[in-house]
């Protein structure tokens, strides 16, 4: 273990503040990384038991393969330091040297850690939308392309100081940069893949493929909620200095209020539409509120946060309805939650947060379009070479046995029909 004797080397106010800020970002990075467990549980619970190993595996690999790719390529693409505003590359890897505490910055290693957790989040959103039919190898290809290239490039446009940033577009913690990107990439995947077998009947109406383990889904959402306290407050990137301290605390409270009102609104909306309080809708509603507040949590009041969450909660229920209408099969609601409410977050930042609305609208179109188009192309290429979707028989048996030769719930008797 470390030597305590070194601990007190030349303390100063700046050195203490340096420790505080880096500790803060470290804690927040850990919370965001914990969100991977949240996504894994949420998605495993909302899918069939026969696809559980597959969806868990995808989530594990988003983080693992994603971390390596974002280390090698992504970070350098996203934070090139400079560049033409559209595309630049700082080089491979991340500096390991600390910075001068007096300049009040973060250690590049913890900055990378925080950023890689965001990249993995963007990637993992897609796994839910394409669940139950995508080949595992196709997913790995998608995952490294998104984390290594697509996400960092549009990330650079905003957070790396690129053209969207210069335009005045504001996205505090990534309603668009992270969530809408993932949500629209997922939408592209769901469209190119087509629905799961039997999801939409011949006679035109939707059928149900119910989630197999809603206890895990509820756990997942509560973990995500907790992880969001890293996502949003951490995006302040500093807590020392009274202005930073104050900002972080407001952000944390706003995040809570938006999540709460999103859950309540989605529950009430679904209750009135479908005559029953639907748990999975309320769970999606909480996430919708969280996604909606992400872009603007530092710029709005508590009351505005409640409103943003409420609207997000309504939107997510309508978004799920819309996908059903359009016969797009998104098993976990990745697009309604992250795509639709991501855009809502961007717009709300203009409506309530005092940021120029035009720039907000541009950013809220450009980033989703970037994700949708690039991923549509990628998935279409995979499809054209028949690497995209498993065979009908494999899908019926389930991806766990057909792709991984392993069951998630060995021993448990599971009805494979209806």
């Amino acid at each position: 273990m470390g030597s305590l004797l070194m601990a007190q080397d030349s303390l100063s106010l700046e050195v203490n503040a340096y420790a505080i800020d880096n500790l803060f970002l470290f804690v927040c990075a850990v919370l965001v990384l914990f969100m991977q467990a949240g996504f894994a549980m949420l998605e495993a619970g909302l899918n069939s038991a026969k696809n559980t190993v597959n969806i868990l595996f995808k989530n594990i690999m988003d983080l693992s393969a994603g971390a390596l790719l974002y280390y090698i390529l992504g970070y350098g693409l996203m934070y090139p330091g400079d560049g033409n505003g559209w595309f630049a590359f700082a080089g491979f890897g991340v500096s390991e040297a600390g910075v001068d505490p007096a300049s009040g910055a973060l250690h590049p290693q913890v900055d990378w850690l925080f950023q890689v957790a965001f990249a993995a989040t963007a990637a993992t959103i897609v796994s839910g939308a394409v669940a139950g039919r995508l080949k595992f190898s196709a997913y790995l290809i998608y995952s490294v392309v998104l984390t290594g290239i697509i996400y960092p490039i549009s990330g650079y446009w905003k957070w790396g100081g690129g053209w969207l940033d210069q335009l005045g577009f504001y996205d505090f913690a990534g309603s668009l940069v992270v969530h809408a990107l993932g949500g629209f990439a997922g939408l592209a995947g769901a469209i190119v893949l087509g629905p799961r077998l039997g999801r939409f009947g011949k006679n035109g109406h939707s059928k149900v493929i119910p989630g197999s383990n809603l206890a895990l889904s509820a756990l997942g959402v509560l973990i995500l909620w907790v992880g969001w306290y890293g996502f949003n407050p951490g995006s302040q990137l500093a807590i020392s200095g009274a202005a930073n301290t104050n900002a972080v605390m407001l952000i944390a409270a706003n995040t809570t209020l938006a999540a709460a009102s999103g859950a309540v609104a989605a529950m009430l909306m679904a209750w009135s539409l479908y005559k029953k309080p639907d748990l999975t809708m309320a769970l999606n509603g909480a996430l919708a509120g969280l996604v909606g507040i992400t872009a603007n949590c530092d710029s709005v009041t508590n009351i505005e946060s409640i409103i943003i969450g409420l609207v997000a909660g309504l939107l997510v229920v309508l978004g799920i309805k819309l996908l059903n209408k359009l016969k797009i099969d998104d098993p976990v609601g990745a697009w309604p939650v992250h795509g639709l409410c991501g855009i809502w977050g961007g717009i709300a930042t203009g409506l309530f947060g005092g940021h120029p609305l035009v720039a907000q609208i541009i950013g809220s179109i450009v980033i989703p379009a970037w994700a949708f188009i690039t991923m549509f192309i990628l998935f279409s290429i995979l499809k054209s070479v028949d690497l995209l979707r498993v065979s009908e028989e494999e899908e019926l048996i389930g991806l766990d046995i057909s792709e991984h030769k392993e069951e998630a719930y060995a021993g448990f008797q599971i009805f494979t029909v209806e």
Binding site: K207, V208, A270, D278, T280, V317, I320, N324, F415, E418
Partner: protein, 114 residues
């Protein structure tokens, strides 16, 4: 010897069990089943899509008895089932058994069944 197969409502099992015991029928086997009949389907709504669950959860009761006990079994089961006109109370099927063996002893026939 007869094999009596009955499809019953799960919640009625404890009461049926009691009635059977009263009539000195101590042995039976059950399996979990799903049945489609004329009962009103359960409406579930999942993420905004309503679907009818027509295959409802049932218990499948299997009782092998000597011929003289057949009526007692029928009586035990029908006594419990609420005759409130609701569909879906289930059925009883009676089938012939040609031979019965107690695995433990190898004993055969009518003495092995109980």
């Amino acid at each position: 010897m007869k094999l009596i197969i009955s499809i019953i409502q799960p919640e009625e099992l404890p009461a049926i069990k009691e009635e059977l015991l009263k009539r000195k029928i101590y042995k039976f086997t059950i399996t979990n089943a799903k049945g489609q009949g004329k009962e009103i389907p359960v409406q579930e709504v999942y993420r905004g899509i309503s679907h009818e669950i027509t295959l409802l959860i049932k218990v499948r009761l299997e009782i092998a008895v000597n011929d003289e006990y057949v009526d007692a079994v029928i009586d035990a089961i029908t006594t419990v089932a609420k005759q409130d006109g609701d569909k879906g109370r289930g059925k009883i099927f009676i089938m012939p058994i040609e031979e019965c063996i107690r695995i433990r002893t190898g004993e055969k026939g009518t003495t092995a069944i109980g």
